[in-house]
């Protein structure tokens, strides 16, 4: 048994957990830990804002599947993490946040930089800890990692009072077995119920119009191969949520692309007319279902998810299967293969109908050679990266275009804040992703409004030479809000015009990054080419786009798929209320 400072114990346990990168920003209460990090073999990324640190750790985690680690000081440092933690919580991202706290004897005295961080973060973490005894420190850190990455993953916060980081103690790193035994109420490994799986197989055999509705759970569980096998075996078309993008190759003939509020016509038509919906690692979010009473009104529902609380929460399910998606899909495939079945024949009519819908209303937009269409920018980003880049996005119209017009083909390829919808996520997440996957091209599709929310961290990307590309879809608007105002508030553009902006090119240059700009459609390709040739610094590209372009199709919030707004009319507005049946 060694005797060490609390701060050094933290470092040792992090090393034992296999941590290689830490994102954060120091301050009084966590200085001891930073002192210990000074000699430790971690990649220590000093960010310019703790929110960015949290999003970087999140991007790192989503891109790699490993646990992201973020550190901050007490009080304001910790409260700056809140949005990042909530973002990770909503999207089931494994993070461990270590925050400094005021010394134990000051807790509860309104001491300098004291905040009840455990209280504040309780509802937005999977679990959190306040360390009250140095003897518990090694176990708590190991528990935190175990909880963060197992079951339905999520962020875990550890609040460590400064005096504990300074105190010396003997310690031992607990074994895996000890960690599991120390959490008797936590049972993350669930095997899918065989009876239910058998029933699901029966439902699939009987179905005439089945659809696979796939969410982020497939990516988290690493079940893309199994999903593909299931879809190809049973010839069932696949629609993914925003979070599920990349779980199934979008170039595949069975791909219906995204469903829901900004889903494709054919995905929404397929779901609306389905007689069986197989939800895999998805959670029937309101952005997916619209008016819940009219969501897939004729479909029986099979729901596979690791989180029992996700099942029958928003919608009543016919065949609930609690379990790790990969596991369950494997068993389901095995079950389906037991009896021969003529899948081709069974699906013929349904797939023909879907083909018809695809041809009737493919995903499209009005092209222009005068002004840059945002969708065109995304298409060109797709072309120049040959569909192989990791894409992150902020929140707004640009996020939806990034989801719709880039075709994703592998898991962990599209990172965005699907659940919380956090503006400011895209760029720092790209930095984190690039650190996790340096061999990949990483491109942040940002809005002018979103990017500026974490713009300070260009400095971080420059300092550590992280060559991410930022493509700003610059419409000088909080575009998504403007679109809603146009559609639902009589075009009263209240507080959405970003008429004062920095010169993004000069701004990039002032940070030591490269700044580029395109104003005309024909400039888009050359500018992207130039950007791709730079690999030692971040590149910020200001794409000056059509200001009032809208994201379509759209199912207005809380409405039924029947009320999908489909195509831009003459003035670029959605005029048609389509009835689908």
């Amino acid at each position: 048994m060694a005797v060490k400072r609390g701060a050094d114990i933290i470092v040792d346990v992090l090393l034992a957990e296999g941590v290689d990168t830490i994102f954060g920003l120091p301050g009084g209460a966590i200085m001891e830990v930073y002192d210990a990090l000074f000699d430790a073999p971690f990649r220590n990324i000093l960010t310019r804002h703790e929110q960015a640190a949290a999003h970087m750790a999140d991007g790192y985690a989503r891109a790699s599947g490993k646990v992201g680690v973020v550190m901050a000081t007490s009080g304001p440092g910790a409260t700056n993490l809140v949005t990042g933690l909530a973002t990770a919580f909503m999207d089931s991202v494994p993070l461990v946040a270590i925050t400094g706290q005021v010394p134990r004897h000051y807790i509860g005295t309104d001491a300098f930089q004291e905040a009840d961080v455990v209280g504040i973060t309780r509802p937005i973490t999977k679990h959190n800890f306040l360390v009250t005894d140095i003897k518990d420190l090694p176990l708590i850190i190991r528990q935190a990692f175990y909880i963060a990455r197992t079951g339905r993953p999520g962020p875990v916060l550890i609040d460590v009072p400064k005096d504990i980081t300074q105190q010396k103690s003997d310690y031992r790193i607990p074994t895996d077995d000890e960690v599991e035994k120390s959490l008797p109420g936590y049972k993350p490994h669930v095997e899918g119920n065989y009876v239910q799986i058998k029933k699901a197989a029966e439902f699939i055999r009987k179905a005439k119009r089945p659809v696979l509705y796939v969410g982020g759970g497939v990516i988290i569980s690493g079940a893309s191969e199994e999903l593909k096998e299931l879809a190809e075996l049973t010839k069932i078309p696949v629609t993914t949520t925003n979070m599920g993008k990349g779980a199934f190759p979008e170039t595949h003939p069975l791909a219906l692309h995204m469903l829901g509020m900004h889903g494709t016509y054919y995905a929404n038509m397929a779901v609306y007319n389905a007689d069986l919906l197989i939800a895999v690692g998805a959670r029937f979010d309101d952005r997916v279902t619209g008016k819940i009473q009219e969501f897939a009104p004729e479909a029986k529902i099979i729901h596979i998810d690791i989180d029992p609380a996700s099942i029958s929460k928003n919608i009543t399910v016919d065949v609930p299967i609690v379990g790790d998606v990969k596991n369950v899909l494997k068993k389901l495939i095995k079950e389906l293969k037991k009896k021969p079945f003529e899948w081709e024949k069974a699906r013929e009519a349904w797939l023909k109908q879907i083909e018809k819908w695809k041809n009737e209303h493919p995903l499209t937009y009005e092209k222009s050679d005068k002004v840059i269409k945002p969708q065109y920018v995304i298409e060109e980003v797709y072309n120049i990266t040959k569909g192989d880049a990791i894409i992150t996005a902020g929140v707004g119209q640009h996020q939806m275009w990034a989801a719709m017009f880039y075709k994703y083909s592998f898991p962990r390829q599209f990172l965005n804040s699907g659940g919380l919808g956090t503006m400011g996520y895209g760029f720092p997440a790209a930095v984190g992703a690039k650190i996790a996957r340096p061999e990949k091209e990483v491109i942040a599709i940002e809005g002018d409004g979103s990017f500026i929310m974490n713009i300070q961290d260009i400095a971080t990307a420059v300092q550590y030479r992280i060559p991410v590309k930022v493509v700003i879809i610059n419409n000088e608007f909080l575009g998504m809000v403007r679109q809603w105002q146009e559609f639902f508030y009589d075009s009263r553009y209240a507080s959405v015009c970003l008429s004062v902006q920095p010169d993004f090119v000069k701004l990039a240059e002032s940070f030591g990054a490269v700044g580029l700009r395109a104003k005309k459609p024909k400039e888009v390709r050359p500018v992207l080419e130039e950007a791709m040739s730079i690999n030692d610094r971040p590149v910020i590209i200001d794409m000056v786009v059509d200001r009032e372009e809208n994201v379509l199709p759209m199912v207005p919030a809380g409405k039924s798929y029947r009320e999908m707004l489909l195509s831009p009319g003459e003035k670029g507005k959605a005029e048609t209320m389509y009835l689908v049946g």
């Binding site: 209280g119 009250t132 936590y186 009219e294 989180d307 009543t316 029947r562």
Partner: protein, 187 residues
């Protein structure tokens, strides 16, 4: 499947079944665990009728009895959310299995004249309650029982003027005797 639509199709919804449920939760007796549970109810808008906590015979395990009213789907969701907490060991809805329910109440009631005092004494006897403190113009009464009995007792005392009242909330435990076919149920 054809393009026209005749009537709006709706998903069949199960009927609502509102009822009172007793949920028993065993948790690791850690710092902050109770806040986690009450937070869960508050943040999801579930209404608690009563909640009681106490340590069990195992010092690191606490037992919480929660009484909630709600639709069965909401109750199911509550139970799932409770199970999701890292520190919960076991969650059971014991509403429909044989169980014993108890609540303890302390009531300060105005006594007024002798007639009132006699009447109150009579009620105390009938309800097998106890007078635990006496002043010139009040009795403090202790009574235990299930919610129905307690409510009835309080209602009967109301006309005399209740000065103060404290209740523990419901405690419940399943009946071991019900496990054995021939065991006598002792109320």
């Amino acid at each position: 499947m054809e393009q026209e639509i005749k009537t709006v199709k709706l998903r069949p919804e199960p009927p609502k079944r509102i009822g009172r449920h007793i949920i028993v939760v065993r948790v690791q007796h850690n710092f902050g665990v109770l806040t986690r549970i009450t937070n869960l109810f508050a943040s999801r808008g579930y209404n608690i009728e009563s909640l009681t906590v106490g340590v069990t015979h195992e010092p690191n395990i606490a037992r919480i009895t929660i009484v909630v009213k709600g639709d069965e789907r909401v109750i199911e969701q509550i139970i799932k959310q409770l199970r999701k907490l890292i520190e919960t060991l076991r969650v059971r809805d014991i509403t429909t299995i044989p169980h014993i329910e108890r609540e303890l109440v302390l009531i300060k009631v105005h006594t007024g004249d002798e007639k009132a005092r006699d009447e109150i004494m009579r009620l105390v006897n009938i309800f097998r309650a106890k007078i635990v403190d006496v002043s010139i113009d009040t009795y403090t009464i202790e009574v235990t029982g299930d919610t129905n009995k307690i409510e009835a007792f309080i209602d009967l005392l109301r006309p005399f003027g209740i000065k103060d009242l404290a209740r523990t909330g419901t405690l419940a435990i399943s009946r071991e005797s019900a496990k054995y076919k021939y065991a006598k149920q002792i109320e």
